[in-house]
């Protein structure tokens, strides 16, 4: 039979990456003083599973590598070897290496032989072996070549076929044979698959009837197998019962001299084994066209197909709701068939029910895409461990709210910012142990990451009890850099927000872990691209808390509706700074720059949407009109509007997918009255106001976009 196993590769990769995460967090949890056996066991099991799967798919490099890890873990588990910080580090490194190996195989790229052989050498050193130093690609798994594959027709035995005669077999099982689920009858049927079989039952061992125990085996058998097979093939039939029975196998010519033990017993009943009904040959034909439809999408390895695991509870809830919806629909169609004015109330009830159903269904469909934030947390303990070790700091890292759910895409995009922020807390926040002691703090610093839901947002807070931000130093630097005018007073929050400016760091020296240009400005940009917000609170000497607030989903945004002419537009609320009535005395015209408005300490360009989108406005006179100040990446813009409407949540529909990309427009939505409203792309508008006509910046929503 042929089974194409490659269709299961994708699942293997998924569970292997999960297993690697388990290994990593387990290793980080290990206390070398008192290693928890259960944790070690989990780590071992994960390695063992990956090895097994890799063997199945013929990924020898992986199974070879994992075999070393497994051996080391096994020794640590059995206490043959101490859990040293070094051993843990070597294993952590091996986890990294294995992760990149699997990723390379998954995306059909070449393996990094140097990294593999380095990691292998480290493992070998831990195992106290002489490093082989070769990244094995082609050799079989070290130490366990699948010797005994237990496959039928076991080959390679030296005993020659018995000259066409066959085999005489004496089989005396122990009484407990049945208790292992083995059944002599099945053994004989298996022998019959090999050739013609004569069975003689020896009942001499049976006790008197009243002492008969049907659950124990008190019989013995003498069998004659007329088949041209090796002794090994015969032995293989008895493979599982060899330890539970006395078994004697001899070539048939020599069988004339039967052992004395069998000769007594008198009542040897010859029983012809029932012919096995349609006994199939040992190798059945492949699944004759009965290909199971269990193929998973994106199978066959290759590119990473984006899949998501959904709790069956969520699916059950959906099915319930669809059921409700069907009931409502049939009720409404019933009303529609025979509608009279008296039934108006019924109709209204039905519609209210439909609204409820729809809302519930929408919420639950959203929940399908939600995953616990623990996925994003998973890398963090390692980061803290490595960074604090390298910097000689002691850090206790706490994670809270791991089960808080958020959209899968949002989660994937927030991982890097979180890594950066946590690393920053270790590097800039937490002081060296002696410094902490001098300040009267415990030597071990604490960093806490916490996630929770608040309204339609998920809030992630990263707090440390470190040195805090030196407000004055930061302000001094900002002034020196010309970011803040001399003499201007800023609120604390505004000052702390300066750390998100590119090129501003309170650190005087770049360390290996920060100050390398990938900074807080990038973090802020990432958060903003997810329509989120980020804020800093800090007390000098006491610590810093960074709060990120993200929407639960990218397909819905909070918008500020406004009107220009007869068109309704939407600005993402996250970009709105304030709305104001235009004071004509503050408007100036700048040659080649159009109109600007004096706002706070600076000037913001004014954008007249009716000019940009070529529509007929109600009002052209700026003075006394309404303007919305919007912001993107610290650049401000005044959008001149006819009228402000309400704020509401809108579902984003892609304009590109349904029409084409339009500069200045991020997407569209359908309002309650059925009209289409365009959602402004603030970054694009700013670009256009500078005279650039670049393609608008559209947040990447590869899979939060429902086909509208």
């Amino acid at each position: 039979m042929s089974v194409d196993l490659s269709q299961f590769l994708q699942t293997f990769f998924e569970e292997s990456f999960e297993g690697l995460d388990t290994m990593e967090s387990g290793l980080l949890e290990l206390d070398p003083e008192r290693p928890d056996p259960e944790t070690l066991n989990n780590v071992f099991r994960a390695a063992h599973s990956i090895k097994g799967g890799a063997g199945t798919f013929g990924l020898t490099a992986v199974s070879d590598f994992t075999h070393r890890m497994e051996t080391l873990l096994d020794r640590l588990r059995d206490g043959q070897q101490a859990v040293t910080p070094d051993a843990v580090n070597v294993l952590l490194n091996a986890v990294d290496c294995l992760r990149s190996m699997l990723a390379a195989i998954q995306s059909d790229q070449a393996l990094d032989a140097d990294a593999i052989s380095t990691a292998q050498r480290q493992l070998d050193e831990q195992l106290g072996q002489t490093p082989t130093g070769t990244a094995s690609g082609a050799s079989g798994p070290a130490g366990d070549t699948g010797g005994d594959r237990g496959s039928a027709g076991g080959g390679g035995d030296a005993t020659p076929p018995s000259g066409g005669g066959g085999w005489w077999i004496r089989f005396e099982p122990q009484p407990h044979l049945f208790a292992t689920g083995n059944d002599p009858r099945r053994l004989f049927l298996a022998l019959q698959d090999l050739g013609e079989l004569e069975v003689e039952c020896d009942t001499s061992g049976l006790p008197p009837f009243e002492q008969l125990d049907p659950e124990t085996c008190q019989l013995a058998w003498t069998l004659r197998l007329y088949a041209d097979v090796t002794e090994a093939a015969v032995r293989e039939v008895f493979e599982w019962v060899e330890d539970d029975a006395r078994l004697e196998i001899r070539p048939l010519e020599a069988a004339g001299t039967e052992p004395a033990a069998a000769a007594e017993g008198g009542a040897a009943a010859a029983v012809a084994a029932e012919p096995a009904a349609g006994a199939e040959a040992a190798a059945p034909a492949g699944g004759e066209g009965r290909k199971s439809a269990a193929r998973r999408g994106g199978a066959g390895g290759g590119g990473s197909s984006s899949s998501i695991r959904v709790d069956t509870e969520k699916i059950d809830a959906l099915i319930d709701m669809v059921g409700e919806l069907v009931i409502t629909q049939s009720m409404l169609s019933q009303i529609g068939k025979e509608f009279t004015a008296e039934r108006l109330e019924e109709l209204q009830d039905g519609l209210a029910q439909l609204e409820r159903n729809t809302r519930e269904l929408q919420e639950n469909v959203m929940r399908i895409r939600m995953v616990p934030i623990s996925f994003a947390y998973s890398r963090l303990p390692r980061i803290v461990h490595d960074t604090s070790r390298a910097l000689g700091k002691a850090v206790d890292f706490q994670m809270e709210g791991e089960q808080t759910e958020l959209d899968k895409t949002v989660m994937e995009k927030i991982i890097d910012p979180l890594v950066h922020l946590v690393r920053n807390s270790v590097d800039h926040g937490i002081e060296l142990p002696e410094e902490r002691a001098a300040a009267g703090k415990p030597e071990t610093g604490t960093i806490t990451i916490e996630a929770y839901h608040k309204g339609g947002n998920i809030i992630i807070e990263i707090a440390d009890d470190g040195r805090g931000i030196n407000r004055d130093k930061l302000l001094g630097k900002a002034r020196a850099a010309g970011l803040v005018e001399d003499g201007s007073e800023l609120a604390d929050e505004q000052i702390y927000d300066l750390i998100f400016h590119p090129g501003l760091s309170t650190h005087d020296q770049a360390t290996e872990y920060s100050g390398r240009g990938v900074g807080m400005d990038v973090v802020k940009r990432n958060v903003r691209s997810l329509s989120g917000n980020i804020h800093v609170r800090s007390t000098h000497g006491q610590g810093t808390t960074i709060t990120i607030s993200l929407p639960l989903t990218l397909s819905i945004l909070d918008g500020q509706l406004f009107r220009v002419g007869d068109q309704t537009y939407i600005i993402p609320l996250v970009s709105v700074i304030e709305s104001l009535q235009v004071d004509a005395s503050k408007v100036s015209r700048v040659t080649s720059r159009g109109e600007v408005y004096h706002w706070r300490e600076g000037y913001v360009p004014i954008v007249r949407l009716h000019e940009l989108f070529d529509t007929e406005p109600v009002r052209r006179e700026l003075g006394g009109g309404l303007m919305v100040i919007v912001e993107d990446e610290d650049t401000y813009l005044g959008v001149f509007v006819d009228d402000l409407l309400d704020q509401q949540q809108v579902v984003i529909k892609s304009l590109e997918a349904n029409y084409l990309q339009v500069p200045g427009i991020a997407g569209a939505t359908i309002l309650g009255d059925g009209t289409v409203a365009l959602i402004l792309d603030i970054a694009g508008l700013i670009e256009m106001s500078r005279g650039g006509r670049r393609q608008p910046y559209i947040p990447d929503r590869e899979d939060s976009d429902e086909a509208a």
């Binding site: 089974v3 496959s151 689920g181």
Partner: protein, 120 residues
């Protein structure tokens, strides 16, 4: 056709075993660990159990012992999925009441042939 309970904490292994067996026309129920398997086994009606050894919550050997304690599983064949690197597991499994074993790495033909030994 025979009903088989396949127990493994690895999803890919479960999928492969199930797929192979279903191609042969067997009816397969999956369980993710020993505890899950025990719950499903109590519902009864299985002709064979195939279980991995290394699993969270309840390992395969404990599962065999527990199953043998159920009246309905006294004589039901139970096969262990073992690796060659752990031959002692075979003996441990036998002592607990396992019928036999299958050696990983997983091989569809081997699985089918082995099952023929216990489910006729």
């Amino acid at each position: 056709m025979a009903k088989i309970l396949a127990v493994d904490d690895s999803a890919s292994m479960r999928q492969m075993v199930t797929y192979t067996l279903k191609q042969q026309g067997y009816e397969v129920t999956e369980a993710v660990d020993g505890t899950d398997a025990l719950t499903k086994a109590k519902a009864g009606g299985f002709d064979l159990v195939i279980t991995d050894v290394n699993m969270p919550k309840m390992d395969g050997i404990t599962l065999v012992r527990e199953l043998r304690g159920l009246p309905t599983f006294k004589f039901t064949p139970i096969l262990l999925l073992t690796t060659e690197s752990a031959p002692e597991k075979k003996q441990e499994g036998k002592a607990a009441g396992a019928t036999g074993w299958l050696v990983k790495p997983f091989d569809p033909d081997q699985l089918v042939n082995t099952i023929k030994k216990v489910v006729r």
